[in-house]
Amino acid sequence: MSAPVQEAITTMVDAATVQSIADDVWTSLVGDGEVLVPLPVPATEVTVSAWVQITGPWCGAVVVTCEEATAVALTECLLRARPPAVIEPEDVDDALGELANVLGGNVKSLLREPSSLGLPQTGPIPPAFRPDDLCRVDAQWRGQSLTIIVQGAIGTPHTERNEVPQ
């Protein structure tokens, strides 16, 4: 007997909603006048990703991916850093992780069933499960590629210690 297939994220969240959440995040955290434009541009350099996992009846992750230079620029904005301030690599991981965390927390609130949110992680993107269990916003910030993906996960739902019970 095969394992039950989870409900696709697209039945609960669409790209316009994710874009709307991102608009609020950009205004609040990145800065006044900073806009995430929903027009895709290709990434030309090495990209970095940060994500938070959601665990519940729907399991998956909210992933933010951009080029390294874009991640550094985002970090400078979040910290309101001005030259000669030095942005450390751990600050870049931290900042991109917080963007994923805030986006993920807001996406989680749209799910129909109680779920848990994991701590931010950075690294290789977790593999997507089904092509239809995925909601994607391909956008640009300051002309550079930035992608937000809400994607279903492989694996059995489980609860980890630091997740937030709803």
Binding site: D91, E98, P114
Partner: protein
């Protein structure tokens, strides 16, 4: 007055502190903790007038910190600044003794609405 800002993200602590300043709370002393356990220790040692805490943190979560404080008899004013603001989260926070929950992303107005009654 003294405000303890607790978040495992240094970047988010800086954003919270900046928003406090922008909201007009620029004459208060700000101290910081990296997780709930450190916040628990600092409440005892530093006697803050208000704790602003993230919810989801390693070592000890914000709600575990609040519950530990109340279990130990501390009535320090406590509010959450967290990425989730569902009604269920707000109810859980209130039941544990939190005065408010500010959801991220937030504005200066959100901070003023929540803190004016506490810090006035």
């Amino acid at each position: 007055m003294k405000i303890l800002v607790t978040d495992d993200s240094r970047v988010m602590r800086q954003i919270v502190i900046r928003t406090l300043r922008q909201a007009g709370y620029d004459d208060h002393e700000i101290i910081q903790a990296e997780d709930g356990w450190e916040a628990l220790q600092m409440v005892g040692a530093e006697k803050p007038d208000l704790v602003l805490s993230d919810w989801n943190m390693p070592e000890m979560t914000g709600i575990e910190c609040l519950e530990a404080l109340r279990a130990a008899g501390s009535q320090v004013p406590f509010g959450f600044v967290t990425s989730e603001g569902s009604p269920e989260m707000r109810e859980k926070a209130a039941n544990a003794g939190a005065l408010f929950l500010i959801a991220k992303p937030f504005t200066e107005e959100n901070f003023r609405d929540a803190l004016d009654g506490v810090l006035s």
